[in-house]
């Protein structure tokens, strides 16, 4: 292992200025050129370097225990912790990618990406999924109606639903926010990772560290690109990999967040509720005249005749 804990801590602690420089002036390879982002550099996140992951999966039982989840034993009859996808019992998953001809392989750690401008938060009717002040995307049970729009909205298909429960929850990584800051200083997965393949910190620092690694080994990481720097408006959980990110299940995304795009369309139509009010006023004006005319006609034709009521509706 060429990067030890000391170096990481040094990078994280001293990286704020570097982060500012890195996020604005970093030469990116063939990936989309980042525009001006509002991604908060102090927001918390993870950085997963797939080239350091040895696939030990200590992070999986650690996550299960820290979150009190019932283990997903898959088809193993209770023998193993064997989920094949994130689900209502699995907030964190290590997957293995092997190329068809076997010439490349990589592990991939999948968990919520904690987007800078999350689509799930934008779609949630009562913001049960919300962004905490420190950037973590969390879920509140009493505001969730179980509509599952978050599952439709998430570009990474992260939120999972407890389909088999009478009282179902939305389950996803929340960066151990229930224990970080009180009994723990970092999430369970980063705490147990033996190679520090996944590390925890502020997005600015993590991004700086990622760029530092790319710079130290040019051409080593795929397209010299940090996944999550710009994708979907920037995510707080970043991924570094040697293989193409698409093979790891990370979709190719533009640098605009879906939430921002939807807001644009809404604003265009509604203009902050101005449009409905104006239209309402217009319709009232039009109908008023017709209604007066209709009443006059009914009076003349109807009188006490209850039949007349039937024509008006």
């Amino acid at each position: 292992m060429d990067v030890n804990r000391r170096e990481i801590l040094k990078a994280l602690m001293g990286g704020t200025v570097a982060a500012a420089v890195a996020t604005t002036g970093m030469p990116v390879g063939t990936a989309a050129k980042p525009e001006k982002f509002e991604a908060d550099p102090t927001a918390l996140g993870l950085m997963y370097d797939a080239t350091k992951c040895i696939g030990c999966r200590a992070c999986m039982p650690a996550c299960q225990n820290a979150n009190g989840l019932t283990p997903d034993v898959g088809g193993s009859g209770g023998l193993y912790l064997q989920p094949d996808t994130l689900n209502a019992h699995t907030k964190n998953l290590i997957k293995l990618y092997v190329a068809e001809d076997g010439h490349e392989r990589s592990f991939m750690k999948q968990q919520c990406m904690h987007c800078a401008d999350p689509a799930c938060v934008s779609g949630c009717p009562m913001e049960a999924l919300h962004k905490e002040p420190n950037g973590v995307v969390g879920w509140t049970s009493h505001l969730c109606i179980g509509c599952r729009y978050c599952q439709v909205a998430c570009p990474f298909n992260i939120p999972k639903f407890e389909w088999d429960k009478f009282n179902p929850k939305i389950v996803k990584c929340e960066l151990c926010r229930h224990i970080v800051g009180t009994t723990e200083s970092e999430p369970a997965c980063t705490k147990v990772c033996p190679t520090h393949a996944v590390i925890y910190g502020k997005r600015g620092d993590l991004l700086a560290e990622a760029h530092r690694r790319i710079k130290a080994k040019p051409g080593f990481y795929f397209e010299d690109h940090v996944y999550g720097e710009t994708e979907a408006g920037g995510t707080q959980c970043l991924v570094l990999s040697q293989v193409d990110y698409i093979h790891l299940g990370l979709p190719k995304l533009g640098n605009q967040s879906p939430a921002a795009q939807t807001r644009k369309v809404s604003d265009f139509v509604y203009r902050g509720f101005l449009t409905p009010v104006v239209v309402y006023g217009g319709i009232v004006a039009i109908v008023r005249n017709r209604w007066k005319e209709h009443l006059k006609h009914a009076e003349h034709g109807g009188g006490e005749d209850t039949h007349g009521e039937e024509k008006r509706a």
Binding site: A119, Q151, P155, F161, P251, W291
Partner: protein, 406 residues
Amino acid sequence: MTGTWERCIRLREPLKTRPFLLFAGLAGLGLLIGLYREAVGLGYVTGLNDGYSWGLFKNWNVTALTALGSGGYAVAVLAWIFNEKKFHPIMRTAVLTSLLGYGTGMLALGFDVGRPWNFVFLADPRTWNHYSVLWEVAVCMTAYFMLALDVENMPPFLERMYRSGDPKKKDLSMKFFKFMQRTFPFGIALAFVLPSMHQSSLGSLMYLAGPRVNPLWQTPLLPLLYLLMAYILGFACVLLVLALSAYAWDLGWDAAIMGRLAQVMSWVTMIWLAFRFGDLVYRGVLVNALNFDKFSLYFLLETALILFPALLLLSKAQRETPGALFRLTFLLSLGGLLYRFTPTTLAFSPLGDYHYFPSTAEILMSTGFTALAVAVFLYAVKTFAILPASQGKIAAEEAMRPFDTL
């Protein structure tokens, strides 16, 4: 043709016919399975999964069928904004189909959400996320149902109250009727603005899914296309219901109303087609239609079902032939429903390798909700004066029993 519809009548037919019992039975079955779903959770009763988390209830009963339930909205536009007075006799039928379409749609939605007890918090404005399209749909549909639709459907009910013979009921119904008279323009404007908002929002819902909806459907124009399709399907539903009712109960055939409805419907479809294809060409994805993968086949089917009937309905001859009118409207509504349904399910490809088909229980529940609408419709038209009738039918009814009794 002496089929002009002059006024609304209450059908004197027996309620418990075989079809009614069939629909009521299906509705009962659906509701029973719904209760079971509440007890055990969605996973056991539906084929939904984390990839396709929206299925038949949201995408069919709400998104697709409430478009059929936009009849009241669409015909009201013609009757009140464009001042086409001949539509007044069919307004009651139209708003009834709306009430039933929305009512059963919202019922399906109630069974679909996983944590319905938290709906109470929706009443607290501090929880509102006004950026959420789904929030807009939920609040707006509820407001429409509670403030506009039920009031619009009051007249036949009030009328029955008025005729009941009880002076208190007569008085109350008159009071309410006077209230409606005073507030009518405000009410109908609400009944225009609210459905405009949520029918278009139903389209915007899938915009947030971005690249996961196939490019043949994903566009920022989704709200407009969905709104126009709501008009088209609203007209179609009213046409189909009136045609079937006229056939079943000898109401006569009002060629002017039916023809005009079909004409407006076909024009709006042309406008819809213009936006649809214009958008596809602008975004450069029209070529995808010739891929002959499953998406292209859905697209071609949907386009065929919408384009050809609408083109044919532009012709007066077709509109004046009841059989052709019905057939073409039926095909057009199938195409329209397919359009409303497709971006949510058929054209939606979640990240990962997910497969979805509704389970048997899910199909039965969804059919049950729709059957409930039909059963209540049958009940309503035989209890209240809703369906329009031509002179011949009116005379026949009057011979059976005078009109100033219940």
